[in-house]
């Protein structure tokens, strides 16, 4: 037996062995889903609470919103805030029709790696496409968006709807 033959047989042996017992994992994804909590007790919320506690003790409101934002978790529960989890990014910007596609740097990351930005308070009601730019080069769509657009240059934009004041989006 030659080395190449041995390598081929190794691959074949391991592959066949796994194939022969594959039925054992037929429902693995369902078992895993059942076992996981429905909503991750994610570092996002965990660290958010820790951060909020720290802010309450240390800041006594004197340092204001800026300190609150920088020491606590990102306020992703707020519908006026766009968030992206990207712990290893050095920078994340948002570019959108409402920024005239000009990248606007996002805040963050918080201790869970979440980047966030609050929508401009004077944003007009309407439909806006947007996306995130990671490290100045990588276009990333918002996984939390409910609508997406495949662009002509093969990117994916997320879509955001701003409802008139007082109306639900």
């Amino acid at each position: 037996m030659h080395e190449q033959e041995l390598e081929a047989l190794l691959k074949e042996t391991l592959t066949q062995y796994a194939k022969a017992h594959r039925d054992r994992i037929a429902d693995l994804e369902y078992e895993i889903i059942e076992e996981l909590p429905e909503s991750r007790s994610s570092p996002l919320w965990r660290w958010g609470l820790v951060g909020a506690g720290a802010v309450a003790v240390a800041a006594v409101f004197a340092l204001g919103l800026w300190v609150g934002w920088n020491l606590s978790g990102a306020p992703c529960h707020d519908p006026q805030v766009l968030c992206l989890v990207y712990p290893n990014a050095k920078s994340v910007s948002v570019a959108s029709q409402f920024t005239l596609w000009e990248p606007i740097p996002m805040n963050g990351p918080d201790r869970s790696g979440v980047w966030w930005i609050r929508l401009p308070h004077d944003i007009k009601p309407g439909r806006y496409e947007y996306g995130f730019i990671v490290d100045g080069e990588r276009w990333v769509y918002d996984p939390r968006a409910t609508e997406f657009v495949h662009t002509f240059d093969d990117k994916i934009n997320s879509v955001l709807y701003i409802a008139p004041r007082g109306e639900q989006p």
Binding site: M1, H2, E3, L6, E7, L9, L10, K11, E12, T13, L14, T15, Q16, Y17, A18, K19, A20, H21, R22, R24, I25, L28, E29, Y30, E31, I32, I33, E35, L36, P37, E38, S39, R40, S42, P43, L44, L84, V85, Y86, P87, N88, A89, S112, G113, R138, V140, Y141, P143, R144
Partner: protein, 182 residues
């Protein structure tokens, strides 16, 4: 990354367990195969695959999104197996022999079957330190660099271990009467 994989990972990071379920569906065969190759026992491999996906979900925020997800999940799997071996001192004897279903000359088929079985037995006899890179290389198709990343070893060590693993396999196969020519 595979189609939509980054989106699935992002969704899982936001707590979407269905997105993680899709990741499990895509990777379960590979993860199970690696665990089976290392542990040598289907029941233990099933447990290890299960543990690997749970642990990976819990530690998903440590995954570098710009890297290959497959390498990372294989690394988690290898670590789960390593711990299992350490914990249980598990060197399971070979009990499960799959049937080959290839057609052709029955004598030839039997010889092939015999050879495959012999190789599996030989893999079983390898030390975990040799078995892990071997399985990642020849089952999961990782290159040296990826194996090094997955096992947290220098690339040179991976090469050495693979070389020694094959030398050890050669020795075992020769003992079993399988002629080997490098």
């Amino acid at each position: 990354m595979g189609e939509g994989e980054l989106e699935l990972i992002q969704r899982a990071l936001h707590g979407d367990v269905d997105a993680w379920g899709e990741i499990v569906r895509r990777y379960k065969d590979a993860v199970f195969g690696i665990a089976l190759g290392i542990l040598g026992n289907p029941a233990d491999a099933e447990d290890a695959a299960h543990d690997a996906f749970i642990r990976a979900y819990e530690g998903l925020h440590t995954f570098h999104l710009e890297k290959r997800f497959s390498t990372w999940i294989f690394a988690v799997t290898a670590n789960v197996c390593k711990n299992k071996l350490r914990r249980e001192r598990l060197f399971a004897p070979l009990k499960y022999i799959s049937k080959l279903t290839k057609g052709g000359d029955p004598a030839q088929q039997l010889a092939h079957e015999e050879r495959t079985r012999t190789i599996r037995e030989a893999i079983e006899q390898l030390k975990p330190a040799y078995k892990m890179p071997l399985v990642l290389r020849y089952y999961a198709d990782l290159d040296y660099k990826e194996i090094a990343e997955a096992l947290g070893l220098p690339e040179g060590t991976v090469k050495t271990r693979l070389h020694r693993a094959k030398a050890e396999l050669k020795r075992i196969l020769e003992q079993k009467g399988v002629a080997y020519h490098a």
